[in-house]
Structure formats: structure tokens, C-alpha cells
């Protein structure tokens, strides 16, 4: 670890923090366009955050310290997760401390805390959301881990940096297993980020909400941190997807000249991913909650199939 990589790490920390709401704004904008509504502008998430931060927080009488501390933990976990993904360059000091299995662990840590915080007030919607979130996650988390396993077995490493580097440098080889992994990852991405078809981020309809039900009791700065964390989570997932399946343009270790170019390439990649996400959300319908296990079970099985293909074909 030297000063330059440390600087790079700091740069990325700031980058993910600032760029994440922008990406969310872009996705929302695209969706508005596709659904024939007039868009609020891609800077709307920042305005929402600023508004929330200025308000007075209202806590329920039965809130315990766990409830107040969870937003901070959630925010930092997501920030950490996004900061270790090779977004523009690979040699991040953080990725030696946290490999892909630990990354899934950090996501799980954040999820367990938000589910516990949802149960803390003791309202019907809070526990409902916590229960559904844990239901989604017990299948989504293994599926995500299996996707990472496929990548790790190809790259012979569980470090995300090494995986991205390997994938970026290999000659173009078609990995059938990665195709399975890609579909599974996309399905998990939709489920874990509370998107259609599993959840819907833009509704408070009690029969269907999952993530929104959990954070119903939060307000002001706590809610702002949670919303920001959700945006960072989406950003992290999309950039993980890039690192695994589209490592084009990520600067190599020590190659500082490639950094501006990497930044330039990142923008259209993110824009395309955001557009695709909005498209997927606009053309598909939400599943009934008890269809969700089937959906996620499919993702899990696809990922397992991917590993089996990898072991059979050895590529």
C-alpha cells in the first residue's frame, strides 16, 4: 500500500458517494420518459437528500438505540462495499481486506441490521417488511455468492481486484458458465435493490412493499442516510456487474494515465445500465410475494448450473 493507491482509494470513496444519487436520478428519469411522464431531472435525488437532512427527526416512543444507529451502519456498509469495487481502477487497498465472500457478508450485515431495525418499533408493517426482506435474501444471498464463486474459480482468486484484472486481460473466450452467472446476477441485482419484479421502490402499497415497509418509521436524516445507502447499493451492484462481466476500460494496476479514460468510459456504461434497468422495470410486472422465492430459486439454480458447467467444461 503506498500513497498513490491510498489517494486512488480516497478518490473512489468520494466518487461513489457523489455519483450514486446521480445514477439513481438517471434511472428514475429514464423510467419517467418511458412511461410517458415528465421527469423530475437527474438531480432530484440530491434535492431529496438535502431536504431530508434539514428536517427534524421523529422517532417513535418505542424506538431503541439500535433503531437510531442502524442508518449509520447501513450507510457505511454500503459505502464500504461500493468503495472496494474496481470502478475505475483495480489496485484498491481496500480489496485486500475484503474479498468477494466478505463483500457478500457486508451486504448481509447491513440487511440483518435494517431488518432488526424494522422490527424495533413493533409495528405491523415493520415486521412484515423484515420478514419479507429476509425471505428474499435467504435465496438471493446464496445466488450472489454462487455467481462470485464462478468468477473466483475462473480467476483462481476470491479477490475482486484479481477477478476484474483477470477478466480484463484474458483474450476473448466465451465462458458458458459466465452466461449463467450473468443472468443470475441480473436477477439478484433486481431483487436486492428492491426493484420490479420483486419489489417496487416507488410505491407504499401495503400488500406489496418490502423495503419501503422496513423503513416506514424512519424520517429526516436517518431516512436520508438510508435512501443514500440504497442509491450507493445500486451503484455498487451495477459496478460489480461491470467488473465481472464488462471489465472494459478499467485502469490497470499502476497505470495512472488510463484513469481519465476509465472515467470517460464509465459514464456511457453507467448510462446504458441505468437505461436498461429502467427498461426492465417498465416492461415487467411485479410478482406476487410468494412467486418471489421461485424467481430467486431460479437465479440460485442458474448460478449452480453455471458452476457445474464450469467444472464440466473446464472453461
Amino acid at each position: 500500500m503506498n500513497t498513490s493507491t491510498l489517494l486512488l482509494q480516497l478518490f473512489q470513496n468520494v466518487l461513489v458517494l457523489l455519483a450514486a444519487p446521480l445514477l439513481l436520478g438517471w434511472v428514475n428519469n429514464c423510467r419517467s420518459w418511458m412511461q410517458g411522464r415528465s421527469a423530475a431531472g437527474i438531480f432530484q435525488p440530491y434535492r431529496n437528500l438535502a431536504k431530508l437532512f434539514q428536517k427534524d427527526a421523529v422517532l417513535a416512543h418505542s424506538a431503541s438505540p439500535l433503531f437510531r444507529h442502524t442508518p449509520y451502519l447501513l450507510f457505511v456498509s454500503m459505502w464500504l462495499a461500493a468503495a472496494m469495487v474496481p470502478v475505475v481502477a483495480v489496485d484498491l487497498p481496500l480489496s485486500t481486506a475484503v474479498d468477494v465472500i466478505a463483500l457478500v457478508g457486508i451486504f448481509a450485515l447491513a440487511r440483518v441490521f435494517i431488518a432488526l431495525a424494522a422490527m424495533d418499533i413493533g409495528t405491523s408493517f415493520g415486521t412484515l417488511g423484515a420478514r419479507r426482506e429476509m425471505l428474499i435474501s435467504f435465496l438471493a444471498e446464496p445466488a450472489l455468492l454462487m455467481v462470485f464463486f464462478i468468477a473466483s474459480m475462473i480467476a483462481h482468486s476470491t479477490s475482486l481486484t484479481t477477478i476484474a484484472e483477470t477478466f480484463a486481460h484474458k483474450q476473448f473466450v466465451i465462458y458458458p458458465s459466465l452466461a449463467f452467472a450473468g443472468i443470475a446476477f441480473l436477477m439478484v441485482l433486481l431483487a436486492e435493490n428492491a426493484r420490479i419484479p420483486v419489489d417496487n421502490p416507488s410505491t407504499h402499497l401495503e400488500l406489496t412493499m418490502i423495503h419501503e415497509a422496513m423503513i416506514l418509521e424512519y424520517s429526516a436524516r436517518h431516512l436520508a442516510l438510508i435512501e443514500w445507502a440504497s442509491a450507493i447499493k445500486l451503484f455498487a451492484y451495477i459496478t460489480i456487474g461491470f467488473a465481472l462481466f464488462l471489465p472494459v476500460g478499467i485502469a490497470e494496476a499502476g497505470n495512472w494515465g488510463a484513469l481519465p479514460l476509465a472515467l470517460v468510459i464509465l459514464v456511457p456504461k453507467l448510462a446504458a445500465a441505468g437505461f436498461g434497468l429502467a427498461l426492465l422495470e417498465s416492461v415487467s410486472a411485479k410478482l406476487r410475494i410468494f412467486r418471489a422465492p421461485e424467481y430467486l430459486g431460479t437465479a440460485f439454480l442458474l448460478a449452480v448450473l453455471g458452476i457445474l458447467t464450469l467444472n464440466l467444461l473446464k472453461v
Partner: protein
């Protein structure tokens, strides 16, 4: 003095304390103030001895006790030392806790309980030190019987008596298998010392027979499928410190037995299918246990099922190690073995901790049904905080200890080189998938455990009088919670310790590579393949939280108002509208409907006094145990026909038997 002498001194101390407990029946204060803390001191001494003995050459001792010509052989090697470390470290916390917990118990019961408790501790230590089959079986049976009496402490309740009966029955079925296993291992030489068994070279058939008998016999004690049924009955029945000891320590003696037989006595004769068998059984046990844990409503039953899950993971790890070892892939075998042992150590800490917290909850509220608890974080902040540490650890979340062992085990799945048996290459990823699925479900069960008991609003009126744990109870739980933290944050240090066991059993360790990147980074194979640094992770998370907190304060404000809960504007909500334990487990019950035996009575909409009743059954009862019970009953009625109560007839039986034996032996 050799380490083994210190260990024997601790055993002697425990035996003295056991007798002292009986003698001091009249003064319960003396027992809780003196006997239990002294027992804890013994535990500390044992843990320290084991720590020293781990890296030393094996020490032996022969005690002039037992049968003529068959003195007790004892040996303290790295494997024994590691499990003695588990015993000492976990029982230290449990004994401290017991000193506070049993304060309110009446003198006579307390005296007996103290006697059984320390006898149980001493017998577990002797099981781990025994170096001949005779002493081993004596200690093993003492352990089973003392724990049986501990389980049936509240013997006036019929359910507890029947739970104790099932426990004793399965313990003895297991003991018979272990006895037969030793019979096979001595290989017709008539020498029952373990030293002789180590030297014996058995044919593959007999080696397999010994392994299967050991897996069955020790598996019965560990709670392996399908012999797990005693565990969810006995653990809730016992007083909480005893449940903690049984789950945290006693199950590990069975793991010790499996390792002793398979890696010490048979280690040159491993066959790869043993590994597959143990791996499959272990993973099946793990998934079975965790699914049942997710639908329980009794908090101690939930933890008992979770113990089954963890034992499954440990057995699967042993299977993996055997598989690699049989294929001469020693480096990965060492990794799998270290991961397994690490998980055993972790489990003894977090599961004991969680059982102790249920003890405090039980003391404060008198309620085991989670559906009648809730909101205890406000009344019992200490217990709630310590339970949270336990819950995070057992759910396998970084940076706590449960994650380290799962991480290591997953690494050994991932790093598995290709096997000579082609289909195994396909089986191993499926194993990893099952392991991961089990881990995610464990988080579900644990969120339910913590959320329903400690969070939300109190579901019953009487909970407002709940009080926090006393200082001794707190001290015991703090020790265990601290263990969870330290085991999670400095894995390299502990892996270097466990390496001694791996070196002794398979001649390979991780030492040179695990610490190659410094003590901060855990790198089981090579830094570029995998690295994990829990301490840095924790520091970053804490630093990040502090930074975020200060930044929000600096740029905005910290104003807070308190108000009623929002809940989408619904004003008339009550504590009854929260999920009960059944409610939280409902999705799992619905998805895995085919798997559970569910009995449900739903009231009709016109019912004026609606009553809901739901039960989730273990299908193995009806599919396996009841048929066997019926068969045994049928057989015994058949045999009963021989009995007529007339003496001449019985004399005739003896005569016929004698003739038959003479004819047979001639």
C-alpha cells in the same frame, strides 16, 4: 509437572467441588458464592494448560485405577488439547454465569445440581484425555448419565421426563455403536489401549466398519441426522447453563470422537467415500436443522435446532477434510480441517452465549415462548447487547467469528483441486451451494430469534417487570461475547494454534501461508488468491460511522422529536399486530410445506371466539422412529410369550441354552 498433570489436577478439583456441592446443600449461598467461582477458576486453569499443551509433544500418564491389569491410560496430545481448550474456555463463562443464575434455586436441588454439574465437567475432560477404550467408555457413560440428571432437573414435569428418556435412549444406542467401533479397532488383539489401535492396520472392510460405527455412534451424541431427535427435546428441558454446556461443549466431545477415530486411528486408511458420506450427511443435517430452527416458536428449541445445523457444518467439514486427505491433497485437507476446528471453537462460544441469554430472559420473564416476549431491549439492555453479538456471530456476519470459519470452509470448497473421481468435481460445488444456503437461512432464523424476543413492543403485560442480568451472569456472558469478538478479529493467531492439531493429524498445516501477509491479513493459501482482514474491516466501519455521524451533525443538526409510531397512519395498532414467532416463520413454512409435517387449525370467519392452532412436526418421527418403536414393541411381545412364570420352564430354557452353547463352542 507435565501439562497432563495440571489437567488431572483440574479434574480432581472439579470432583472435589462436586462432593462439596452435596455437602453444602444446607447453604445455597456458599455454593453459588464459592463452588461455582472455584469451578470457573478450574476452567481457566484447564484452558491455560490446553493452550500450552497445544504446541508441546504429547504427554502421557497412567493412573493405577480401574480394573486389575487394566489401569487408566491418559494422553494429552494436540487434538485433546484443542478440545480441552474449548471445554475450559466455554465452561469458564458458563460457570461464572451459573454462580449468578442458580442463586434462587432451593438448597437440596442446588446441591444435587452442583454435584452433577461438576461431575459432568470432569467426565468431559476425562473423555478428552482417555487413552484406552475402557476409560473412554467409563467417562463417556458418566458424561451421558450426569447430563441426563441435569436435563431432568425439573423432573416433576412429565415432558421433561420424557425428553430425558429420549436423550438417554439415543445416548445409549450411540454408546453401543462406539463400543463396537472400539471392538473393531482393536483388531482381535485384545489390547484396548488407543496406542495399540493406532498401530493396527485394518483391512479396508474393517476400517470402513470402524468408521461407520464411529460416525453413527458419535453422530448420535452430536445430533447428526437422523439421530438428532433428542437434541430439540433435551436442550429446552435443561436449565439454561446446562443447555449451554451440552450444546457448546458436549456436542464437541462427539466431534472429538469422530476426529480421534478417523484421523488418529485410521488416518492412513482413508477411503474417499467416507468423506462423501460425512459431507452429505453433514450438509443434510445442516439444512434440516436450520429449516426447523426457522419455524420454531420456543426460543431454546430454536437454538437447539441451530446447534444441529452447526454440527452439520462441522461434520461436513470433517467429510471434506477426509475426502481431500484420501486423495492426498494435503494442503486443502489441512485448510478444511482447520476451518472445521475453528467452527467448533466458534460454536462453543456463540451458542453458549445465546443459551445463557435465553436463561436470563427465562429468569426475568418465566417465558420460553417467543410469541409472549418482545421489547426486552428496553428492560434488559445488557442481555440484549450481548445477545446481539451472539446473533451476529452465529449468522456468519463479518467481522465476527462465525464468518471466519465459514469463510475458511468456503475457501476450501473453492480451492479444491480437481479430484480423480470426476463426478466429485460436480458434487463439491453443490456442497458449497448447500452450505451457503444454510448460512443464509441461519440469518433468517436468528433475525427472528432476536427481533421477536428483544425488539418491538412487549406482547404481554407482565414483561414490564423484567430485570436485567445480575453481575455474575453478565460477567459470564461478557467473557463469551468477548471470545466471539476476539476469535473474529484475530483469526491468524488462532489458526496458528489450530495448526498444531492439523500438523499432528495429517502432517500439514497452514502456518507458513496463513500468516504470510502479516497477522492482520488472513491468507489461507496465498495473498493473491484470497485475503481477509477483519480488524481493518471493523476499524473502517467504526471510523466510517464516526465520520458520518460527525459530518451529519456538523452540516445539519441533531434534533430529535419523539412521537407515536407512524405505521402508514394507522392509529389503533397494538402489540398484538406484530409478527409472532409463528408469523415470522410463516414464509419458510409455506415454501417448505412438503418438508414439514404441519398441523393447522384455522377458525371459521363466523367464530365468535376464534382460536388458531398450528404445529410443525418433524416428519422423521412418523417415518422412522414410530415404525422402529412399533417393531420393537412387537418383538418384545413375541419374546414375552416365552415367559410363563413357571420355574421348571425357565430351568429348561437354561438347559437348552447351555447345550446350544456347548455345541457352538465345541
Amino acid at each position: 509437572m507435565l501439562p497432563i498433570d495440571y489437567a488431572l489436577c483440574v479434574i480432581a478439583l472439579w470432583l472435589v467441588l462436586a462432593v462439596l456441592g452435596l455437602a453444602l446443600q444446607g447453604s445455597p449461598r456458599a455454593i453459588t458464592r464459592l463452588v461455582f467461582p472455584l469451578g470457573a477458576l478450574g476452567s481457566l486453569a484447564l484452558a491455560a494448560t490446553a493452550l500450552v499443551a497445544l504446541s508441546q509433544t504429547p504427554s502421557v500418564a497412567i493412573l493405577p485405577l480401574g480394573l486389575p491389569d487394566l489401569p487408566f491410560h491418559l494422553r494429552l496430545d494436540a487434538l485433546s488439547a484443542f478440545f480441552l481448550l474449548i471445554l475450559g474456555a466455554a465452561s469458564l463463562g458458563i460457570s461464572l454465569y451459573s454462580a449468578g443464575y442458580f442463586r434462587a434455586t432451593a438448597g437440596g436441588t442446588l446441591g444435587l445440581l452442583t454435584f452433577e454439574y461438576h461431575l459432568f465437567l470432569a467426565s468431559m475432560a476425562l473423555v478428552l484425555l482417555a487413552d484406552d477404550a475402557y476409560l473412554f467408555m467409563v467417562a463417556w457413560e458418566t458424561m451421558a448419565i450426569s447430563s441426563y440428571f441435569l436435563v431432568t432437573t425439573d423432573h416433576k414435569i412429565p415432558e421433561i421426563r420424557s425428553a430425558g428418556f429420549i436423550y438417554l435412549l439415543i445416548a445409549h444406542i450411540g454408546a453401543i455403536a462406539i463400543l463396537m467401533c472400539f471392538g473393531v479397532l482393536q483388531g482381535a488383539h485384545g489390547d484396548f489401549t488407543f496406542e495399540a489401535m493406532r498401530q493396527n492396520q485394518l483391512s479396508p472392510f474393517w476400517a470402513s466398519a470402524a468408521f461407520l460405527l464411529a460416525l453413527f455412534g458419535f453422530g448420535a451424541k452430536a445430533g447428526m441426522l437422523p439421530l438428532h431427535v433428542w437434541l430439540p427435546e433435551a436442550h429446552p428441558a435443561a436449565p439454561s447453563p446446562v443447555s449451554a454446556m451440552m450444546s457448546g461443549i458436549m456436542l464437541k466431545t462427539a466431534i472429538y470422537g469422530i476426529l480421534r477415530v478417523s484421523f488418529d486411528f485410521l488416518h492412513t486408511q482413508h477411503l474417499w467415500w467416507w468423506g462423501i458420506l460425512a459431507l452429505t450427511l453433514g450438509l443434510a443435517t445442516a439444512l434440516y436443522g436450520v429449516l426447523f430452527a426457522a419455524v420454531q416458536s420456543d426460543m431454546k428449541r430454536l437454538l437447539a435446532y441451530s446447534s444441529i445445523e452447526n454440527i452439520g457444518i462441522i461434520i461436513a467439514g470433517i467429510g471434506l477434510a477426509i475426502l481431500f486427505h484420501a486423495n492426498h491433497q494435503e494442503q486443502v485437507a489441512a485448510l478444511a480441517l482447520v476451518a472445521t476446528l475453528y467452527h467448533a471453537l466458534n460454536h462453543s462460544f456463540f451458542k453458549s452465549l445465546l443459551f445463557l441469554t435465553t436463561g436470563s430472559v427465562l429468569h426475568a420473564t418465566g417465558e420460553r415462548n417467543m410469541g409472549k416476549l418482545g421489547g426486552l431491549i428496553h428492560k434488559m439492555p445488557w442481555v440484549a447487547l450481548l445477545a446481539l453479538i451472539g446473533v451476529l456471530a452465529i449468522s456468519g456476519l463479518p467481522p465476527l467469528n462465525g464468518f471466519v470459519s465459514e469463510w475458511l470452509l468456503l475457501q476450501s470448497f473453492l480451492l479444491a483441486p480437481s479430484m480423480p473421481q470426476l463426478y466429485l468435481n460436480m458434487l463439491l460445488p453443490l456442497g458449497a451451494a448447500a452450505l451457503v444456503l444454510g448460512g443464509a437461512l441461519a440469518a433468517y432464523a436468528m433475525v427472528k430469534f432476536y427481533g421477536v424476543i428483544f425488539l418491538g413492543q412487549s406482547r404481554e403485560e407482565n414483561l414490564s417487570e423484567a430485570h436485567d442480568a445480575g453481575p455474575m451472569e453478565r460477567a459470564g456472558m461478557l467473557w463469551l461475547a468477548g471470545g466471539c469478538l476476539i476469535l473474529g478479529l484475530s483469526p491468524v493467531f488462532f489458526i496458528l494454534l489450530i495448526d498444531n492439531v492439523s500438523m499432528a493429524l495429517i502432517g500439514h498445516d497452514l502456518g507458513s501461508t496463513a500468516a504470510s501477509a502479516g497477522w492482520l491479513w488472513l491468507t489461507p493459501v496465498a495473498a493473491e488468491r484470497a485475503s481477509y482482514s477483519p480488524l481493518i474491516l471493523l476499524l473502517i466501519i467504526l471510523g466510517g460511522i464516526l465520520f458520518t455521524f460527525l459530518a451529519v451533525r456538523k452540516f445539519y443538526h441533531g434534533r430529535v422529536r419523539r412521537g407515536p409510531a407512524w405505521d402508514c397512519g394507522y392509529p389503533a395498532q397494538t402489540a398484538r399486530m406484530q409478527d409472532s414467532a409463528e408469523g415470522f416463520g410463516q414464509p419458510i413454512r409455506q415454501i417448505f410445506d412438503f418438508f414439514f409435517g404441519v398441523i393447522r387449525e384455522v377458525p371459521s370467519p363466523f367464530d365468535t371466539k376464534p382460536h388458531y392452532h398450528g404445529e410443525t412436526h418433524d416428519r422423521l418421527w412418523t417415518l422412522l422412529y414410530l415404525p422402529i418403536a412399533r417393531l420393537v414393541e412387537k418383538l418384545s411381545t413375541l419374546i414375552g410369550r416365552l415367559q410363563h412364570g413357571r420355574i421348571p420352564l425357565y430351568l429348561l430354557y437354561s438347559f437348552v441354552t447351555l447345550i446350544a452353547l456347548l455345541a457352538f463352542t465345541r
